[in-house]
Structures are given as structure tokens and as C-alpha cells.
């Protein structure tokens, strides 16, 4: 019965089909009254999400390393390759390991506190930092522009009308906090950005916020109102933050010279101090490793290693701190970056902008393990080849909203811009059970295309136990260029003839999709 539900959900997940979009748009973007009337079933949980932004595009292939692809990897990126005997092992996952600098995260993984999601991205990847970051922050399609952020839409839903009438007795604290001097598009709500920026929670400058007067109905009036609102909120929430900072403490010893750890230290202290803020964001920059990503003398060292070590150390000490502070069950953390990097390294011992990459969710409430398969690396790659996505980043967001923040499907869909995304078994007791997920592995399989390499035509055969199955063709850049099959399939073996005429010679990927499960095979067109 469970499984039935699951498959039904899956079928509804066809957000790319015109019918479902047309169908959804009204509910998603109807007048605010419609949103407000949605029953708010105690959506305000005591749970906290900590977003860790890795700025610049993290090299996923050197972070969560696919050891079963090692010989092809060594051809594609010899000069940045981590020696396989240095890769850190993960319990029960002989084919996958972590960068040698990530001992902290390895420890957490092996203690069951990490859920890694493989090959996260979005269709039609954009290789601009700024555009791709906007896509991640706003949770839009590659082809759309949203001016609100995914967290902003979630918070608008839970705290309608903000900032008018806030703070309230139920929510006396900031809706979101970003550590630093700026706020992200992710927190942009309908009316304003919902995040407070703070660098030092223990000191707030006493502002004079007397009478504010009226604002003219002009662009100047718009900006004036904005600045006044910030002034007012700073005053109101500053006290709440300072009180929490005074009350809260840190029990773990944070490393020095680790700016990410410094930021997470503030977060832990505020959570322990009783701040009800549900979402925090911290940032680590420097991942745009076009050159000197590794030391050429020792590829386990270098700029990327330093970053990953700081990331891993910071997460480890933060998790330890949360445990000692006894708030660990309320907090989940998640890393993300605007894209991964190219499969082939460049000649500057670095890597260029890429597509999909793994991300990590951590905490006591995650299903430990790795969701999805290792990326598939071709035996011959060109400079354009990318890791294609297996999971849409919005599946991760939807999972966080549904399973961590306990929103209902309509609310999740609203926060996801009116689209439905199948959740992933990231959290214990979540909407997608790990059994359902693993079941599918046995219920879906795909053979290598034959012939391969191919010239005009090739054939792909697959097995499904029945249901909505789609097959797509991606180019080497990770761009979906054709739909090869889509629709309900009866249980059994199927064959798809693929017409390759008109395609440039090079690497392609055939991807089979059923529910959350995706299988990817390489195809070389001659």
C-alpha cells in the first residue's frame, strides 16, 4: 500500500508536463488570501535548518570520490586526482570515499549522522556563478527568473504578512539569520528579505528610532520605507538576539583560523540560547578553483583541501557542540554550492565550471547513507563533459520542507514555485521511505546501449516492474536534449530505439527515471 502511494506520488511529479504546470499555477500563485486560508497545522516546528553555502562551485568529484570510476577519472583529471589509497573510506560503501582532508565528516558519516545525496543539479545547467546561484537560491528552473527565494516563500507561508505585525508572542525572534554582512536571495520574501544579518550577536548598537513619519509614494519613498523597516527590525530583534547570545553558550572547542567554524559557533550559541529562528545560513567562499586547486607535488594538499578540511572540521565541531548542548535532535545542516566542476581538469591544476555535484545533509535525524549512485565517468572525456544530474536540488529542498519542517504537499509545492518534486529518503521517518527507495533499485534496471559507440542508431533495453518511466538523452555538458521515452510502462523488459542522426560526435548520457530512481549510462556517438 505504501508503495502504491509512492508510485502515485511519482506520477504526479511530472512537473515538466504542460498539463500539470497549467494545473498548478493557480493554486501556487493565487491571491494572498488563498495562501492565508491554507490551514496552518502548526507549521511552526522547533526545528532548525542550517544552510552552509559553498561559494564558487565545489568540485564534487574530489569531495565524494567515486572509487569505482577511478581508472576513467585518472585519465580525465590526472593532475588533480587524489591517490585512491588516500581516499577516506565510508562504512559499507567500498565504492565511494571522501577527500582525505575530510576526516571530521568521515567520522560523522561512520557514526550515522550524514546523508549524502549524489549528483544534485538541475536540468539545463547554467555555468555562470551568478545565474546558477540565483537558480539555487530562488529554486527556479534554469529558464525562469524568480524574485523570491525558496526559504523566503516557506517563511512567508508560515508567517504570513511579515513584517507587518511582527514580532509576535509566538514568533518573537528573527525568521532567519545569516551570519555576515549580507543577506541572500534565498531569504527574499514577497514583501522583503526575511533574514537578519549579524556578525556579532552579543553587541548591538542602540539605534534612535523615533517617529518615522510618512513616506512619499515614489521610488525614494520605497527605499525610505525599506531603510526604516530595517531600522525598526534591528532594534526589535537586536535585543532578542543579544538575549539569546547572553543566555546561550558553546561547550565544544572550535578551531581557530576557521571562519566557517566561527560562524557555526554563533549559530550553536543562538540555538542554545533559545532563539526560535528556524533557518540560518553560513557561507564559505573560495571554491572557484580554476587554478591551483591542488598542490602539484601532493594532490591531497592545496586550496581545495584546505577548504574541505575547514568545512569538515567546522561541521564536526558544530555537531559535537549541538550534542553537548543537548539540542542535536532539533538541528539539521545542509551544504550546497552553485555547481560542481568539469570532469576533465585543466592544465592549471584546477577545474572549470561544471554541473551536478553531491551535497551533504547532517544531523541526528538523517537516514545515514548515500542516496543515488556514483557518477559515471566516460573512458574518454572532452573538456565539455559534465556530471549529469540524478537529483534535482529542489527534491532536496522539498524533502527539507516536507519532512523536516512538516509542511503539507500544497505548501511545499507553493514554496517550490508551483512545481512538485519527489522527496528523497533523507530524514528518518520521512515521506519517502528508504525501503521504497531501495526497492526501486531492484525494480528498475538498464543495460548499456547497444551498439556503443554508435553511429546512426542504438538500442537501450531496460526492465521495470511497471509504472511511470521516462528515458532522456543528455549531452556531455549535462543538458537534456531529448526525451526518448515517457509514460506508463507495464512490468517487464522494454527496448527503446534511439535515433542518433544529427548529433555531434561525442559523449552522451542515457538516463532512465522511475520515481526518485535514476540510472545513467554513457553513450558515445561517433
Amino acid at each position: 500500500m505504501k508503495r502504491r502511494n509512492f508510485l502515485r506520488n511519482t506520477a504526479a511529479a511530472g512537473a515538466v508536463l504542460p498539463l500539470s504546470i497549467a494545473d498548478l499555477k493557480f493554486r501556487a500563485y493565487g491571491p494572498n488570501a488563498v495562501l492565508a486560508s491554507l490551514a496552518r497545522a502548526a507549521a511552526q516546528t522547533d526545528r532548525v535548518l542550517v544552510l552552509i553555502q559553498l561559494n564558487g562551485g565545489n568540485d564534487g568529484l574530489n569531495t565524494l570520490i567515486p572509487l569505482d570510476q577511478y581508472s576513467n577519472l585518472s585519465k580525465a583529471r590526472q593532475n588533480v586526482l587524489i591517490p585512491d589509497n588516500k581516499v577516506l573510506g565510508l562504512n559499507g560503501k567500498p565504492a565511494t570515499g571522501l577527500h582525505p582532508a575530510m576526516t571530521g565528516l568521515q567520522g560523522l558519516y561512520n557514526n550515522g549522522l550524514v546523508s549524502a545525496v549524489q549528483n544534485v543539479g538541475y536540468p539545463s545547467p547554467n555555468f555562470s556563478h551568478f545565474r546558477s546561484m540565483d537558480i539555487w537560491m530562488s529554486a527556479s528552473d534554469s529558464s525562469e527568473t524568480y524574485t523570491t527565494g525558496w526559504v523566503g516563500r516557506y517563511l512567508d507561508n508560515v508567517f504570513p504578512g511579515y513584517p507587518t505585525g511582527y514580532p509576535t508572542s509566538a514568533m518573537p525572534d528573527p525568521l532567519a539569520i545569516q551570519i555576515g554582512s549580507g543577506v541572500s536571495l534565498a531569504f527574499m520574501g514577497e514583501n522583503m528579505n526575511l533574514a537578519m544579518a549579524i556578525t556579532d550577536p552579543s553587541s548591538f548598537y542602540n539605534l534612535v528610532t523615533g517617529s518615522t513619519g510618512t513616506a512619499p509614494n515614489t521610488p525614494a519613498g520605497r527605499e525610505l520605507t525599506y531603510v526604516r523597516t530595517i531600522a525598526q527590525q534591528t532594534q526589535q530583534y537586536g535585543t532578542a538576539i543579544k538575549n539569546a547570545a547572553d543566555k546561550g553558550k558553546n561547550l565544544a572547542t572550535y578551531p581557530s583560523g576557521n571562519r566557517l567554524a566561527d560562524q557555526l559557533k554563533i549559530v550553536a550559541r543562538l540555538i542554545h540560547g533559545g532563539l526560535k529562528t528556524p533557518v540560518y545560513m553560513v557561507t564559505q567562499g573560495g571554491y572557484d578553483t580554476h587554478s591551483q586547486q591542488v598542490d602539484s607535488a601532493d594532490t591531497t594538499k592545496g586550496a581545495h583541501a584546505t577548504l574541505l578540511q575547514q568545512l569538515s572540521d567546522a561541521i564536526k565541531v558544530f555537531q559535537d557542540d549541538l550534542t553537548r548542548l543537548e539540542v542535536q535532535d532539533r538541528v539539521a545542516g545542509m551544504t550546497f554550492s552553485e555547481f560542481g566542476r568539469r570532469v576533465m581538469s585543466n592544465f592549471s591544476t584546477g577545474t572549470d565550471h561544471g554541473a551536478a555535484a553531491p551535497l551533504f545533509v547532517f544531523g541526528t535525524k538523517v537516514n545515514p547513507g548515500i542516496i543515488g549512485n556514483n557518477p559515471v565517468i566516460a573512458s574518454t572525456v572532452t573538456v565539455s563533459d559534465n556530471v549529469p544530474m540524478d537529483f534535482d536540488f529542489r527534491q532536496v529542498y522539498a524533502t527539507v520542507l516536507k519532512d523536516w519542517f512538516e509542511m503539507n504537499d500544497a505548501e511545499v509545492r507553493d514554496a517550490m514555485g508551483g512545481k512538485t518534486f519527489q522527496t528523497l529518503p533523507i530524514f528518518k521517518g520521512g515521506s519517502t521511505r528508504i525501503e521504497d527507495f531501495t526497492d526501486l533499485f531492484a525494480r528498475l534496471s538498464m543495460a548499456d546501449p547497444y551498439p556503443n559507440p554508435a553511429r546512426e542508431q542504438t538500442t537501450v533495453s531496460f526492465f521495470t516492474d511497471g509504472g511511470q518511466v521516462s528515458m532522456y538523452l543528455y549531452d556531455a555538458m549535462g543538458v537534456r536534449i531529448r526525451t526518448l521515452a515517457s509514460g506508463k510502462h507495464r512490468g517487464g523488459n522494454h527496448e527503446v530505439q534511439v535515433d542518433l542522426s544529427g548529433l555531434r560526435p561525442g559523449n552522451y548520457f542515457v538516463q532512465l527515471e522511475q520515481g526518485t530512481q535514476r540510472i545513467t549510462r554513457m553513450l558515445f556517438v561517433q
Binding site: V16, P18, I21, K25, S124, F127, S128, H129, D134, S142, S143, E144, T145, Y146, T147, P174, S181, G182, L185, M188, N193, A195, M196, A197, I198, Y205, L207, V208, S211, G213, N217, T218, P219, A220, G221, R222, E223, L224, Y226, V227, I230, A231, Q233, T234, H290, S291, N346, F347, S348, G350, H353, S384, D475, M477, V479, R480, I481, R482, T483, S486
Partner: protein, 580 residues
């Protein structure tokens, strides 16, 4: 929406049609980005953007309009500066603002030799820009020297647009000194932006492309025929020239092709900094480079070999980039967002950006005619475009220090002078703007990030810091090991014709400090700082004259200073003060 097809185009390049693509194209744009649509409607409803275009403004040139012009083109403005322009027409003032010095400033010097560190290659007080690299410590100190020097140039700017334009180009062709890693190259980048700031933008793009700092920052120096590096080729198109506008449809393959055009540029770190950049023909890809149809029906850059190949192909490339109207549009939009407002609606696009782009193209890509047309336009002086800009941190800090005539340590004490300039820089940095080290190659998000733009400067972290700075400077002043800087409230009030008259002092101060006047209620509250409890106006007159006539009397002094500090604190704590 065009933006949509743009991104599809970019990311996919060639492809067959497929069911889901057909379905996506079939959806009307307003359903794809409903929030954006909604927000813009709301903006238009509540703030009614305007209908004025680039027709020269010929109405009365009021003092309000003069102040608006100076706020936007200078960092703050002094009363003496606005007085000097009084009685001129808008056109005359703009011409003067655009008549910038062509003399390069004296380069930064060694301010950093101290008890703990001595640069063996540069004596104290001498410039380091042509010296050898020395070591990492020297370089870090030189970076600070360079940033301090730049701060000094802004603080001591003349009444022309030059310093704002240098900052504009730094934000447009952004490099990070921290990444470049050699202050001598970063100095050259800054000097190049100054030299070209008011000139021909095609020349500027060529200079930027061959600039050592940029070659390092975006890996251009590693770009070779065997290992093309796309980094600069991408940003050259996405950020510097054709941009990401709705009709800019260059492809991923264009990025690769342009990278090939730019192969072969190298840096010899052992050479003198000014001649470090050279072209190595053996690393250059000599093949023809074919670009997508966005660049024309048969857009090919003919491959060259030999020592001139790099320059020749660069010339062809820049010609091709500027032959696209998108380049002119993109640069005019950036200027608009820097000098007018961030919201470019259809009216502004059609009636302002498009004619500016025409002017830019017709002038052969000179920047001055564009600035002249924009700053003299009805649109620029439209009352709806006044006071709607949130000051950047540099505008806030430098504007304050200039407007208040804050005296810095004299050039006879270089460590103190540079040190205090560096402190001023640090005040900007903690507000989120470290000149010389923008957050990325796109510059500061306040000038590009939809939908918040300038609002990104102000948040719960930065707004208190702004007030704290103002309050500190007008009260006790700021003291560091470099000395003390203070904004003297009495001197400030004294520059007005009738400081003993509470109403006149208040109104004159407001005109200088705020772009939009406070309403009557707020004005009354401000006045009460001078005349608490509604006491009659002559009390302030008496107090002022008492001190004026007895400058040595501490009691009289304290009364006047206390009231003035409270007055100016209250004025500048208003949200209005953060606007320009």
C-alpha cells in the same frame, strides 16, 4: 519572456526539439515567473515610474536639482562645491563635472616600513609600484598601501565625476587584489581604469584584457592552445560586454571560441610590472574561431600567427563584441543603475537606455557623450529619480568625511596619513564594501542582484554600523594609532549664513544632508534638539552668540556643542540620510 529562451539557448546550444522543451516554450512568460510579474506591477502601481526621456532638461535649474546632480556624481558634496556651481545651467555644471583631470596621480608609496618590518627594496616614502616583488609580507602591506592611497584620492577628489567613474569601472571590470596577489599589478589595473575612465570603452576593454591583474584574476595567463581556459572568455561576454540581457544569446560554444581567440597572453613576473604582459605566439591557437549566429551570419575570427596575432585577433574580437547592440545596452544599463536607479522598466529601457545606447554607438563607444546625455536629461532630473538611491558604503563614508570637511593627518606624516585613509577604508569594509576586493568578478551585488539591488547595502548588521560611525565622528571623533579625525559640528553649522537662527540653521543643514526633506512633524522634533520643551527661538540665538563671542568659555561651548551634536545625530539617524 526572452530571458527564458536566452538561457535555454545558452545552456543547450544545439539540440533537437523534445516534448518537454516544446511544452516549456508554450507556456506564457507571465506564468513562468509570476512573482516577478506581480512585484513589478506592484512597483508600478505604488511608485509610478516616470515618462521622461533623454531630452535635455531645460526647466529652471533649482538648487535642489544641483544638489541631486552633485550627490550622484561626487562622493557627498561640500557646501563650498555647490556654492561654486550656483547660477549655472544644468548643462554648464555637467560639462564641468565631466571635465576631468588627465594627469595621473602620484603613485602610492611605502607607508609601511616600521619597527617590525622593513622592505629591503623600497625606502620609506618612496613608491613601490616599480620595485621588485620582495615577499608576501611586503605585498600584503602594499595592498593596504594601494587601497589607502585610493581612499585618499576619493577623499581628496576634485568636483568632477572622475572618482565615481573609477569606482564604476572597478565594479564593472572587477578584480580582487587578494586573488591577483601582486599589488604592483593591482596598482596598474587601477591606473588603467583611471586613464581610460572617461574615454573610449573599446580601448578600455582591450586594456582590461591585456591587464596583468585581470590576466591573473581570470586565468587569462594560463589560457593556451593546448589548454584553453574559459574563465575570462565567459566573463568578458557575460559581464563586461554583451551581458545577460534578454536578447543576449551567445552560447557556451562562443565561450570556448572566444577563449581560443585569447590564447597566448602571458606574464613574466621577473619583468618590470609595466612590461610584464607579453604575447607568446607558440601558445596561441592559430585556427579560425567560428562564433554562433548571435554574432552574425558568418562570424569568424580569422586565426593569426606570429607576434601580432594576439593583438590582431583581440581587435577583431572587440569589434565583434561591440558590433552587438547588446554591448551598448548592457553598459548603458550599468551606468543607469550606478547613477540613476536600479529599476529599469519598459519606459526607461525604451526612452532612456535605447537612446543612450545609440549615442554610445554613434560616438564610436566614447563614454563621455553618454554620461553627458544622461546627466543633462529630463529623466535624470525628474523629481521621481531624486533621493531613491541607497548610498553605497563608500558613498556613505567618503561622502560623510568630505561633506563634513574632516581633516586627515598631513602628508608630512605618511604613515599616519595612509593609516587614517586605511581606517576610512575599513569603515567601508565592515559595511560590506572593501574597495579593491569586491566579492566576485560581478562586482558588488547591490548593483546587479535582482530584486533587492541597493537595498542589499542596508541590513541589521550594516545599518547600526552606519549610525555608529556618524555618531562617533560628530561627538568624540575617531582615534587610532594614526591620530584622530573628528567632524566638528560648530564649524559645520558656522558655514551657513545664519546659524544663530534655529529655523534657518535647520533648513540649511537638512538641504545639505538629506535628499528628501522630513515632514512637518519630524522637522519639529529635529528643531526641538536646539529648543527643547518648546522654548522660544531666541534662546538658541542667545546661546549661539554667547559662545561665538566667548569662544574660550567652556560652559557656553558645551551648551552649543551638545545641542548641535544632538541635532546632527538626529538628522543623520533618519533613514533619509542613507539615501542619495
Amino acid at each position: 519572456m526572452d530571458r527564458k529562451s536566452f538561457f535555454q539557448q545558452i545552456s543547450s546550444g544545439r539540440r533537437e526539439s523534445s516534448p518537454e522543451q516544446l511544452s516549456v516554450t508554450a507556456i506564457p512568460a507571465e506564468q513562468l515567473a509570476p512573482r516577478k510579474q506581480k512585484q513589478q506591477d506592484a512597483a508600478q502601481r505604488t511608485t509610478g515610474r516616470l515618462s521622461t526621456g533623454v531630452t535635455p532638461y531645460t526647466g529652471t535649474f533649482t538648487e535642489d536639482q544641483l544638489r541631486h546632480l552633485l550627490r550622484r556624481t561626487l562622493f557627498g558634496f561640500r557646501k563650498t562645491e555647490s556654492d561654486a556651481f550656483k547660477g549655472m545651467t544644468a548643462s554648464q555644471v555637467v560639462d564641468l563635472l565631466l571635465t576631468t583631470s588627465t594627469t595621473a596621480p602620484t603613485p602610492p608609496v611605502n607607508n609601511y616600513n616600521s619597527g617590525t618590518y622593513t622592505d629591503p627594496n623600497v625606502p620609506a616614502g618612496s613608491t613601490w609600484v616599480n620595485a621588485s616583488f620582495t615577499d608576501g609580507t611586503a605585498n600584503a602591506l602594499r595592498n593596504f598601501s594601494l587601497k589607502s592611497w585610493w581612499m585618499g584620492l576619493m577623499l581628496n577628489q576634485d568636483a568632477t565625476i572622475l572618482e565615481k567613474m573609477v569606482l564604476f569601472w572597478h565594479n564593472h571590470f572587477a578584480t580582487e587584489m587578494d586573488v591577483v596577489g601582486d599589488a604592483r599589478y593591482s596598482y596598474l589595473t587601477n591606473a588603467m581604469l583611471r586613464k581610460d575612465a572617461m574615454g573610449n570603452v573599446k580601448t578600455l576593454v582591450k586594456d582590461v584584457t591585456r591587464d596583468a591583474g585581470m590576466l591573473i584574476y581570470l586565468n587569462g595567463y594560463l589560457n593556451s592552445k593546448n589548454a584553453p581556459d574559459e574563465n575570462y572568455a565567459r566573463e568578458l561576454q557575460e559581464l563586461f560586454t554583451v551581458g545577460k540581457g534578454p536578447n543576449s544569446k551567445y552560447t557556451e560554444d562562443d565561450v570556448k571560441a572566444v577563449a581560443k581567440v585569447l590564447t597566448g597572453w602571458r606574464i613574466n613576473r621577473l619583468s618590470a610590472p609595466a612590461s610584464a604582459v607579453y604575447f607568446d605566439p607558440t601558445r596561441h591557437d592559430t585556427g579560425n574561431k567560428t562564433l554562433s549566429s548571435f554574432y552574425g551570419t558568418s562570424a569568424v575570427i580569422t586565426g593569426r600567427s606570429g607576434t601580432n596575432a594576439g593583438n590582431d585577433e583581440l581587435n577583431d574580437l572587440v569589434d565583434l563584441l561591440f558590433a552587438q547592440r547588446e554591448t551598448a545596452l548592457h553598459i548603458c544599463r550599468k551606468l543607469y543603475r550606478f547613477f540613476v536607479y536600479y529599476d529599469i522598466d519598459a519606459q526607461a529601457e525604451n526612452d532612456v537606455i535605447a537612446p543612450l545606447a545609440d549615442t554610445f554607438i554613434n560616438s564610436g563607444f566614447e563614454i563621455k557623450p553618454v554620461l553627458s546625455q544622461l546627466l543633462k536629461s529630463e529623466h535624470f532630473f525628474d523629481s521621481l529619480n531624486q533621493g531613491c538611491m541607497i548610498k553605497s558604503p563608500v558613498d556613505h563614508i567618503v561622502g560623510f568625511l568630505r561633506q563634513w570637511n574632516v581633516a586627515f593627518p598631513a602628508s608630512s606624516n605618511i604613515p599616519a596619513q595612509y593609516g587614517m585613509w586605511n581606517d576610512a577604508r575599513a569603515f567601508c569594509q565592515i559595511q560590506g564594501m572593501d574597495i579593491g576586493d569586491p566579492p566576485s568578478v560581478a562586482g558588488w551585488p547591490a548593483w546587479y542582484q535582482v530584486p533587492s539591488y541597493y537595498q542589499l547595502w542596508i541590513n541589521s548588521d550594516t545599518f547600526p554600523k552606519r549610525n555608529q560611525f556618524q555618531d562617533l565622528l560628530i561627538s568624540t571623533g575617531y582615534t587610532s594609532r594614526s591620530g584622530k579625525i573628528i567632524a566638528d559640528v560648530y564649524t559645520f553649522a558656522q558655514q551657513f549664513p545664519n546659524p544663530e537662527n534655529a529655523d534657518k540653521l535647520l533648513d540649511d543643514s537638512i538641504k545639505l544632508l538629506l535628499p528628501i526633506p522630513p515632514d512637518a512633524t519630524m522637522r519639529a522634533l529635529l528643531k526641538a534638539n536646539l529648543l527643547p520643551g518648546g522654548i522660544p527661538d531666541f534662546n538658541w540665538t542667545d546661546e549661539w552668540n554667547q559662545y561665538k563671542n566667548n569662544p574660550g568659555n567652556t560652559l557656553f561651548k558645551n551648551i552649543v556643542y551638545t545641542k548641535l551634536i544632538m541635532l546632527y545625530k538626529s538628522i543623520m539617524n533618519l533613514a533619509e540620510y542613507q539615501l542619495s
